[in-house]
């Protein structure tokens, strides 16, 4: 297989996909906060993307196209998992922690608080927010990816940031707030 790809000379595409993969995973994780599910979503999205590569009209839009597929996978996943809660997997997730104490300690508390706050946002707001903040998509691109009007993108973003602001800044411990103020 590797030999064939060498012959075909599409190393570049593979490198691009690899790079996209980590970005897709980051966004998928910010949506579901479940490593396994995020990985599955990315895998599914890339599989679909490769299968329908010929449908991509403008190569410059590869990014938004891929994220649109990811969004569809995420939606399909909701549809099929609605009545099917896999308790075994849930338990695996709860009990199998690969984080070492060292790792946990070294990671800033801010990261945990941010992730917890984002996880509590409604799904629509979460998606808009992460696509804009993590991937720097424009409002128009996000509207296209999620298939919603630009106005909805703006209002969801506004509401999402507002509730994050309340949770992360106004309710933050005093030391954190002081640190933020000093930055200002």
């Amino acid at each position: 297989m590797r030999f064939l790809t060498l012959l075909a000379g599409d190393r570049e595409i593979r490198a691009q996909l690899k790079e996209r993969r980590s970005r897709l995973y980051r966004v998928a994780y910010s949506w579901c906060h479940d490593r396994t599910l995020a990985d599955d979503l990315v895998q599914e999205a890339l599989t679909r993307g490769l299968a329908r590569l010929h449908q991509l009209r403008d190569p410059a839009q590869l990014d938004s196209w891929l994220f649109k597929i990811l969004h569809n996978c995420w939606r399909d996943c909701f549809r099929c998992k609605k009545n099917n809660q896999d308790i075994e997997e849930l338990e695996d997730y709860h009990y199998a922690h690969e984080d070492t104490p060292e790792h946990l300690h070294s990671r800033s508390q801010v990261v945990d608080r941010v992730r917890a706050a984002v996880a509590l946002l409604p799904i629509g707001q979460r998606q808009v927010l992460t696509l804009i903040d993590l991937e720097e998509f424009s409002y128009n691109e996000v509207a296209e990816i999620l298939e919603i009007p630009v106005g909805t993108v703006m209002s969801r973003l506004c509401r999402g940031r507002q509730s994050l602001k309340v949770k992360l800044i106004e309710l933050a411990p005093q030391t954190k707030a002081g640190a933020l103020r000093s930055v200002k």
Partner: protein, 240 residues
Amino acid sequence: MKPEISQEELNAFIDGELDLIERDRLFVALEDNPDLAHQLCELRAVKAMVSHGYEEPPPAFQQASPRRFSASHYLATGMVLVLGLAVGWFGRDWSSPQRSFSPIHAAMQRPVSLSGLKTDTRKIVLHIDSDQPLKLQTLLDDVDYLLQHQKVIGQPVQIEVIANNYGLDLLRTDVTPYAARIEKLARQHANISFVACGQTMRRLGREGVKVKLLPETRVAPTAIGEIINRLQHGWTYIKV
């Protein structure tokens, strides 16, 4: 009257979504509205925090990198293969069913001329009537084999070699090629005897041939009579 700046506009500003005129309007509004500036700052902080929060997402459970086999993998596979072959080769005797004649088999290859022999045979007559070198050789090899055989089964075997006609050459001092071998056999083993046919000797004498036998040899009146006598006593007859 300054135009009101909405939250959406503030968000659009920090996301770089405002055009030139809108930005201009916002900067004017910021100049004399510290509260608006504070809001903007907080929104910026939120945006920065979100992006910081997912800078390094936890690694996926399954590693995405495809499995690659290095030289050490191949080496290990090869060693396992060699080990398996060795175990199979050395274990073949252990796993295969016991052969009925295996102790003798282990000591010595069984001659074809003795293939009819039973394991529990104790008394054997070996008859030779030819002077062909191959037959003489076979006879003595059979004797060797049977003497080995008795060691393996742990019980003595009685052997009698009967020579008549041209086979008498085996026991004639002047023509036998195996005088030393026969002498050694007779000296080492009490249970082996060499018998010459008296009838053949008489015939040779009539023909003017002087027959001189090896000292170990006993003379029977006739070879056939001797063989029949042995068979009647339960001996096993083998014609070489």
